[in-house]
């Protein structure tokens, strides 16, 4: 149908560190050595924590849980691009991002052990708890950003969701609100190619998720989500723009869910081992280690020291968790409402009569 073109759009892709750890010097962000080392440390701590959580689940010491193995760069490096005053609004597959925020390792153990006590960090005021209802956290991010902006604070919100969650109505509604409100927010979609057993091809019929930004007139791009430098750089620039009042950004981070969806899931039912093997070559941690080694910032001795440090940290967390026995049984009644409700006073008494 011949007619005139009235608008043109394009979507870019950013990769700085390729699969072999080779860096594009032109794009390389100039980061201080400590920041680079910290980035590696965050990713390693997340990886080892996930591995331990998996083991604990297999031993029946915690319940069903998801792990983030393979996605350490896409949430971890993104969180490292945040400023002190920014908010983190995650879903549930951002172990590295939460660790970068300072979350203690016993917190996820508590959550997956069935305790609400894992959901908050007294000293991390702007880290929201896990969001399980897919996509439902995205409007929260927009509202948080709105409030900061209204008060004239220079604070942005970094929000995460998966490729599957981007199909939810809430996601659409929220991105539109963010755009209309010129909300200081950055949306990172961790496209790990799977939503439980559902591959991208059944989730959507478009080349990228990034191009959804076009729908909202929102700057958007795709990054190699297993490339910590690209994730960092894209997120940093977007957060800076958000804080300057230039509005939101949509970042699609291409990554891969290397293991099962949750411990209740068996990927063998629906995907090939080869696909997962293929992605192992693109491991974000290996790649980053090669980069550090190339810069003479890393060696085997440091690696061994780090492993030992992490082991001790995790051991301590496990110990904390295992000692978490004296929990308050009627806690649900403490925090049901901020005011006293007569019927709940009565019900608490009955609860306590039977609780154990």
């Amino acid at each position: 149908m011949p007619s005139k073109v009235i608008a043109r759009f394009d979507v870019s892709y950013l990769q700085i560190l390729d699969e072999n750890g080779k860096v594009d010097k032109g794009l390389e962000p100039k980061l201080p050595r400590e920041k680079l080392l910290e980035m590696y440390r965050v990713m390693m701590r997340a990886r080892r924590l996930d591995e331990r959580l998996l083991k604990m689940q297999r031993q029946g010491r915690v319940g069903t849980l998801p792990v983030s193995v393979g996605q350490e760069a896409s949430s971890g490096a993104a969180a490292m691009a945040m400023a002190e005053e920014d908010w983190f609004v995650g879903s549930y597959r951002e172990v590295a991002g939460r660790i970068a925020m300072g979350e203690e390792m016993h917190k996820p153990m508590l959550i997956y052990g069935g305790f609400e006590e894992g959901n908050y960090n007294e000293d991390i005021p702007r880290l929201l708890p896990l969001a399980v209802i897919l996509g439902s956290q995205i409007p929260h991010a927009v509202g948080i950003a709105y409030a900061s902006k209204l008060r004239g604070e220079k604070s942005a919100v970094l929000a995460f969701n998966g490729d599957g969650a981007a199909s939810e109505g809430d996601w659409h509604e929220a991105l539109n609100f963010a755009s209309v409100w010129k909300s200081p927010s950055v949306f990172v979609v961790q496209n790990n190619h799977w939503a439980i057993s559902t591959p991208l091809s059944k989730q959507m019929n478009s080349e990228t998720i990034a191009q959804r930004g076009i729908a909202y007139g929102m700057p958007c791009l795709q990054v190699d989500g297993n490339d910590a430098l690209a994730v960092y750089k894209a997120t940093k620039e977007a957060l800076d723009r958000a804080r300057k009042g230039e509005g939101p950004t949509l970042i699609e981070a291409l990554t891969y869910r290397m293991l099962m969806h949750t411990t209740a899931d068996d990927p063998k039912k629906y995907r090939s081992d080869e696909e997962a093997e293929e992605w192992k070559k693109r491991d974000p941690i290996t790649r980053f280690k090669i980069y550090l080694q190339g810069k003479k910032l890393w060696n085997d001795k440091k690696e061994a020291e780090l492993e030992e440090e992490i082991k001790q940290e995790i051991d301590a967390a496990v110990k904390y968790y295992e000692n978490f026995k004296e929990f308050k049984l009627d806690q649900p009644f403490d925090h049901q409402f901020g005011t006293e409700v007569a019927s709940l006073v009565e019900q608490r008494a009955e609860y306590n009569k039977y609780a154990r």
Partner: protein, 326 residues
Amino acid sequence: MPKLTMVQAINLALHQEMEKDESVLVMGQDIGKNGGVFRLTDGLQDKFGEDRAIDTPLAESAIIGSAIGMAINGLKPVAEIQFSGFSYLTLGQLEGNAARFRNRTLGKFTVPLVLRMPFGGGVRALEHHSESKETYYAHTAGVKTIIPSTPQTAYRLLLGAIRDPDPVVFMEPKHSYRAFKEEFEADGEAMELGKARIVQEGTDITVISWGAMLHRTEKVIEDVVDKHGVSVELIDLQSIAPMDAQTIADSVKKTGRAVIVQEAQKTLGPASEIISLINDNALMYLEAPVKRVTGYDIVMPYFARENNQIPSIERITDAIEETLAF
């Protein structure tokens, strides 16, 4: 103080509270320049600007979803859903997040928001504009559900809702929006949430209602009192959840008879819980079964037949007379 309608009373409460507390804002579809389709928010955008009287895009779930974020980050949003018939789109966020953040985070993140919405029939409106589904909200732990019936109580209860530290669903009986005016105290005093209001004391029968049905019921009671010389205790429930079990039980213990008048459908409408509370706390005082006059278990008809779905003067009268005669 001049006499005010419920619309004016609510509007005044919003004006006063936004003036008093910088963290309060209003948001919703067409609530700004247009002042809301029922003019509840008239003048607020002029006075407080577009940033505190926000015309949102057309998406209910994101209205409450973003309000949750605002509330977490220090604001007290009062969000309007244009008609309660569209509020079911908010239940995912309301049940899943608004109601849970406090408990989920042991009080670290809380959600002091108000979700306002007009509800109920009797105004010749289109499909979806005349529902009474307070049960959805009242059955949602972690949320309070309030229905005012008069200008004065709407004013005080709304202040109470805004100042409450938790999410409150505030359902406004639109049939009473402009039905009458009332002498009025605009003293900034809030009413405690969770309490029923004894409109008139009596000893022979307890009649419980709320919202627009309360007024229809009041009329019936006048006639019944005239005709039978009985003494009727009339209770305005006001708080659908939490429900004021004490006031209900005390009254029924005294009268031994009760009639409940609700616009909502029968099955699992608030009357079911009221009857259950009477069963729990005052069964042995009952001299007759509790009667409920309710909507039928049908979809709300279009307005040509709507009046047959809403409890009529005749049905209420018969229920009271039958219960008295039992």
